[in-house]
C-alpha cells in the first residue's frame, strides 16, 4: 500500500490537531469515572429523590453493577462517538477536494482508506483505555477489584465493537459524498444490529453480541467464549473495508 506510513502519520496528527482525540478521550474518561459512581450511588439518589413516598427495595450494588453501567454507557455513548468520528472521514475529504490533493500523488486508494480507519481505531482505543482505567480504579475504590486480565479482555471486546460501528459508518462515508448520510447509515446499522442481537445464533457473532462474553470475562466467570465472536467481528470489519475499497477505487474525485 503506497504511502501508508506518511498517510498514517498525517491521520494521527489530524486526530490530535482537530481535537478529536482529546475530546473523545475526555468524554470516555467521564464515562469511565461516572459508571461505578452511578452504580454505587443510584439507590441512595433514588431514595433521596423519592423520600418516603415510595418504598423501593434495591439490591446492594456490586462490582458487577459497576461493570454493567460502564458497558451500557460505552455501548451507547461510545457507539455514537464512533459514528461521529467516522461520518466525515472520506465524504468530507471528497466534498472539500482534499481527497484529490492526496490521491493525485503516488498513494494507493487502499492506503488512503485503511490509514483513516486505523487512526479512528487508535483514537477509540486510547479513549477506551482511559475509560477502562478510570472505571477499574473507581470500581476498586467503591466496590472490589475486578480481575484485571479479564477486565482488559472485556475492554478490548468493547473497543472492537466500537471499531465495527465506526467501520459501518466509514463504509457509508465512502459510498456517499455526505457525512450526514454516512451518520444515518451508522445509526441505522446500530439499531438494526441491536434488533438482530436477540437472534439466538447470529446474535452472538455481531458487534452487539460481544457484550455477553465481555461481561463474563470482566467478572471472572467461565461461561464466555469470546474468540469466535471476536473473530467474526474482525472479519466483519475487514469485509467492510474491502467493500469500501472496491467502491472507492472506481470513484471519480
Amino acid at each position: 500500500m503506497n504511502g501508508f506510513g506518511a498517510l498514517l502519520r498525517k491521520e494521527l496528527l489530524e486526530q490530535w490537531r482537530t481535537a478529536r482525540l482529546p475530546l473523545v478521550a475526555t468524554v470516555f474518561l467521564l464515562v469511565g469515572l461516572s459508571s461505578p459512581l452511578l452504580a454505587r450511588f443510584t439507590p441512595e439518589i433514588l431514595k433521596a429523590v423519592g423520600g418516603n413516598q415510595f418504598s423501593i427495595v434495591l439490591p446492594t450494588p456490586t462490582a458487577a453493577d459497576a461493570y454493567d453501567q460502564l458497558a451500557k454507557n460505552l455501548g451507547q455513548f461510545g457507539a455514537l462517538i464512533a459514528v461521529l468520528l467516522a461520518m466525515g472521514a472520506v465524504a468530507t475529504e471528497k466534498e472539500r477536494g482534499t481527497a484529490a490533493l492526496i490521491l493525485v500523488k503516488p498513494v494507493s486508494r487502499a492506503a488512503f482508506l485503511v490509514t483513516k480507519l486505523v487512526a479512528i481505531a487508535v483514537t477509540l482505543g486510547i479513549a477506551t483505555a482511559i475509560a477502562a482505567a478510570g472505571a477499574w480504579f473507581y470500581t476498586l475504590v467503591l466496590f472490589e477489584p475486578l480481575p484485571l486480565a479479564g477486565f482488559i479482555a472485556a475492554m478490548l471486546l468493547q473497543w472492537l465493537a466500537l471499531v465495527a460501528y465506526a467501520a459501518i459508518t466509514f463504509l457509508g462515508s465512502t459510498l456517499t459524498r455526505s457525512a450526514l448520510a454516512a451518520a444515518g447509515i451508522g445509526v441505522a446499522a446500530f439499531i438494526v444490529l441491536g434488533i438482530l442481537s436477540i437472534l439466538p445464533t447470529i446474535g452472538s457473532y455481531l458487534p452487539t453480541g460481544l457484550g455477553t462474553p465481555a461481561r463474563a470475562l470482566a467478572l471472572g466467570q467461565a461461561n464466555g467464549d469470546a474468540v469466535g465472536p471476536a473473530l467474526a467481528v474482525i472479519a466483519l470489519i475487514a469485509g467492510l473495508v474491502v467493500i469500501a475499497w472496491l467502491a472507492f477505487r472506481h470513484q471519480e474525485l
Binding site: 506518511a6 498517510l7 477536494g97 484529490a100 500523488k105 503516488p106 477505487r249 471519480e252
Partner: protein, 348 residues
C-alpha cells in the same frame, strides 16, 4: 455534423516528432455526464518539455481534460497516456510522474504550510535531508518562507495557490498540470507565478489551462483551443498566430512626405494584387489578395515612389483575435440564465 479540428503545422522544435516524443497523448477522449457531452473525441499531443496552454471559454472541457489526464476522473471513451503511463484511477505510477494544481486548491486547515509540503514530499518517497532542503527551496521559490509555520486555514487564496504550485513541483514531476493557476492572484503574484512557470520550460512539460489569453501568450509555446468539448485547434503558438495572420501590411512613413505618400497610395491602388488601401494620419494599411507575394513587391513600390519609411510590418493577430475567430462569442441560445455557456446535450 462535426467540425474537424485544425492542426497547425508544427515548427522546427517539434518537426519529425513521434509518439515517443510526446509527454501526453490522447486519442478520442470522450466524457459524458448523463446527457451532457463534456468532452467530444479529443485528440491531444503535447511535446516533451513544452509549456502547453489549454485554452477555452468556461465549460469548454479544460478541467475535465485535466481531471482525466491526472487520473481523478475516468473517460467515457478513448485512451490517453501521460509520461508513458496509461491514465486511469488509482494508478500510483502515473501519479509518481505528474504534479497537479487544482483551480481552487483546498488543503487541511489544521496543517501548517511546511507540514503540507513535507507530507507531499513523503508521499513521493522523499525523506531526510533531501526532503528538508526541497521543502525549504519550494517555500523560498514561492515566497511562503515567512508563512511556513502558519496554519493553512489562515492562508489567503493567493497563498493557497502558491502553496499548491510548491506541492505540485516539489518532487520534480515530468508533467505538471496547472488548472487556472493564476486565477486568484494579484498582478504581482500573477507575474511571479508566470515567471516561475516559464522557468520550468525544459525541466518539465507544463499543461496550463486558462481562459486568460495574455497569460498563454506570455509563457506558452504550444496551445490547444477547446470549445464545448471539442478540439478546435492545436499546435505551436507561433504557427497558430502565423496561420491566422491577416493579409494586411502596415507602413508608417517618416513625417513631412505628403506628396510622396500620395503618389505611393496611387501606385498601390493601381496594383492588381492590392484590394484596399486606407490612410490614417501616419499609417498606411494595405490589404492584399496574396500576402506572401505582396511581401516582396510592396517595398519596391515604396522605393519607386521615393517614400522613406519609419516602419513596415505585417499585421499580426493577437491570440485573442485567433481565439474569437475560432471559437466565436456564444450565441444567445447557448447561454444559460447566468450568462454561462450551456453544455450541449448528446444527440440521440
Amino acid at each position: 455534423m462535426t467540425t474537424p479540428a485544425i492542426t497547425v503545422p508544427t515548427g522546427d522544435s517539434t518537426a519529425g516528432s513521434t509518439a515517443a516524443d510526446q509527454a501526453i497523448e490522447a486519442r478520442g477522449l470522450t466524457k459524458r455526464f448523463g446527457p451532457v457531452l463534456a468532452l467530444d473525441r479529443l485528440d491531444l499531443d503535447v511535446p516533451h518539455g513544452s509549456v502547453f496552454g489549454l485554452l477555452g471559454p468556461n465549460g469548454a472541457g479544460k478541467t475535465t481534460t485535466i481531471r482525466i489526464l491526472t487520473g481523478l476522473a475516468r473517460a467515457t471513451a478513448g485512451s490517453a497516456s501521460v509520461a508513458g503511463v496509461a491514465v486511469g484511477l488509482d494508478v500510483p505510477e502515473l501519479h509518481r510522474r505528474i504534479g497537479y494544481l487544482d483551480q481552487d486548491p483546498r488543503f487541511y486547515s489544521w496543517m501548517k504550510g511546511r507540514e503540507l509540503l513535507e507530507l507531499a514530499g513523503r508521499l513521493h518517497g522523499l525523506g531526510g535531508i533531501e526532503l528538508r532542503s526541497r521543502v525549504g527551496e519550494m517555500l523560498e521559490r514561492t515566497g511562503l518562507g515567512t508563512a511556513a509555520e502558519r496554519r493553512l486555514g489562515g492562508y489567503s487564496g493567493g497563498m493557497r495557490q502558491r502553496l499548491g504550485i510548491a506541492q505540485a513541483i516539489l518532487h520534480r514531476p515530468r508533467v505538471l498540470f496547472l488548472d487556472e493557476p493564476v486565477s486568484s492572484l494579484d498582478p504581482e503574484g500573477r507575474r511571479d507565478l508566470l515567471e516561475l512557470i516559464a522557468g520550468l520550460r525544459g525541466e518539465a512539460t507544463v499543461v496550463l489551462s486558462t481562459h486568460v489569453l495574455s497569460d498563454v501568450e506570455r509563457v506558452c509555446d504550444q496551445v490547444a483551443i477547446l470549445d464545448r468539448g471539442r478540439l478546435v485547434s492545436q499546435g505551436p503558438l507561433a504557427a497558430l498566430l502565423a496561420a491566422h495572420a491577416r493579409p494586411i501590411y502596415r507602413l508608417v512613413p517618416a513625417p513631412d512626405q505628403e506628396a510622396a505618400v500620395g503618389g505611393l497610395v496611387e501606385r498601390l491602388r493601381a496594383t492588381p494584387w492590392v484590394k484596399e488601401v486606407t490612410v490614417a494620419t501616419d499609417l498606411i494599411r494595405v490589404t492584399v489578395a496574396d500576402p506572401d507575394a505582396a511581401a516582396g513587391m510592396i517595398l519596391p513600390l515604396v522605393v519607386a515612389a521615393g517614400v522613406k519609411l519609419d516602419s513596415f510590418d505585417r499585421a499580426r493577430p493577437t491570440l485573442e483575435d485567433v481565439f474569437l475567430e475560432l471559437v466565436g462569442p456564444p450565441v444567445a441560445d447557448e447561454l444559460d440564465g447566468r450568462g454561462f455557456v450551456r453544455p450541449r446535450a448528446v444527440q440521440p
